[in-house]
């Protein structure tokens, strides 16, 4: 499905990013595993991809830093010769009630989750325009649509990503570059595993499909948007949330 394609996945050393990197590799893509902090975890993902028979490299870069991102994209094209798929997954949270939220907490989240997406898209646009094609997939969140108390910064960034997805989709459509977003809902992670049954039931009550999502549920939606099966789809946000936000 993705044979011969080169994918760059930001924040791919763990969680949803890791699942996406593995899913793309399983479908034939060579993958650049970007990470900000944990080299050992990124190296482990690279090893898993190599065991699947694909090429992979880990590259450290902080997506909020323009120079880091330029270097990341340069290394990607130097090592793999092209860049066909960009998955903007890297993100952080600094949750706090609005009244208590520090300026630095707001800025950090905007810089990584919103400006980071801008930086990465801008950097890959040149090689993708030259190739006359590409797929850009931005990870947003259903809270970017619904809002969420305690996450003013995160929600603002994620809503911003949805708007950016639409604008860039319009700008680059004539060059056959598709730009879409994926909005996960509640996804099962180490953090949700520790919740009490009562707290879990409270979450299920909000989800028509009555379960938490798995990271693979998100990864499969990304794989679809990265493949030629989605060539006529651009500027859209696909919710992977069990029907929580419609």
């Amino acid at each position: 499905m993705l044979e011969g394609k080169v994918a760059l996945v930001t924040g791919a050393s763990r969680g949803i990013g890791r699942a996406i990197a593995l899913e793309l590799a399983q479908n034939g893509a060579n993958v650049v595993v970007n990470y900000a902090g944990s080299k050992s975890r990124a190296d482990a993902v690279v090893k898993e991809i190599e065991e699947l028979g694909q090429k992979a490299i880990a590259i450290q870069a902080n997506v909020s830093e323009v120079d880091n991102v330029k270097q990341l994209v340069k290394e990607t094209t130097e090592q793999f010769g092209s860049i066909d798929i960009l998955v903007n997954n890297a993100g952080i949270t600094r949750d706090n009630l609005l009244m208590r939220m520090k300026e630095s907490e707001f800025d950090d989240v905007i810089n990584t989750n919103l400006k980071g997406v801008f930086n990465c898209i801008k950097a890959v646009t040149r090689p993708m325009m030259k190739q006359r094609g590409g797929k850009i997939i931005n990870l947003t969140s259903v809270v970017g649509v619904s809002g969420n108390p305690g996450q003013t910064n995160y929600v603002a960034a994620k809503a911003g990503v949805i708007g950016m997805t639409k604008s860039v989709a319009k700008e680059l459509a004539s060059r056959h570059i598709n730009v879409n977003a994926v909005a996960p809902g509640f996804i099962s992670t180490d953090m949700t595993d520790e919740l009490s049954d009562e707290a879990k039931q409270g979450m299920y009550d909000l989800i028509p499909l009555n379960r938490l999502g798995e990271v693979e549920d998100v990864a499969r939606a990304v794989r679809f948007l990265a493949s030629n099966d989605s060539d006529y789809i651009t500027g859209q946000t696909i919710h992977v949330d069990g029907g929580m936000v419609m």
Binding site: R126, M129, K130, E171, S174, R175
Partner: protein
């Protein structure tokens, strides 16, 4: 030298924008005379960077509006 630069640029423009050679004069404006949209101009600048092995900053690229602007820019920055 200027003539050579002009000829190389002209060739790229004719190819990229699919326009008649005769329309590519020094005075020709990319957008008004050569029917390029803004993305075409960005792409053209990218190709010129490769062809002449140089980097054109976004600020400078914005000032390149005619074929003559491109020739002058390249001649004075090479």
């Amino acid at each position: 030298m200027a003539q050579e630069t002009f000829d190389r640029i002209k060739e790229i423009i004719v190819e990229r924008l699919d326009v008649d050679e005769a329309k590519v004069t020094e005075e020709a404006s990319f957008k008004d005379d050569l029917e390029a949209d803004s993305l075409d101009v960005v792409e053209l600048v990218m190709e010129l960077e490769d062809e002449f092995d140089m980097e054109i900053s976004d600020e400078d690229a914005e000032k390149i509006q005619t074929v003559g602007d491109a020739v002058n820019y390249i001649n004075s920055n090479q």
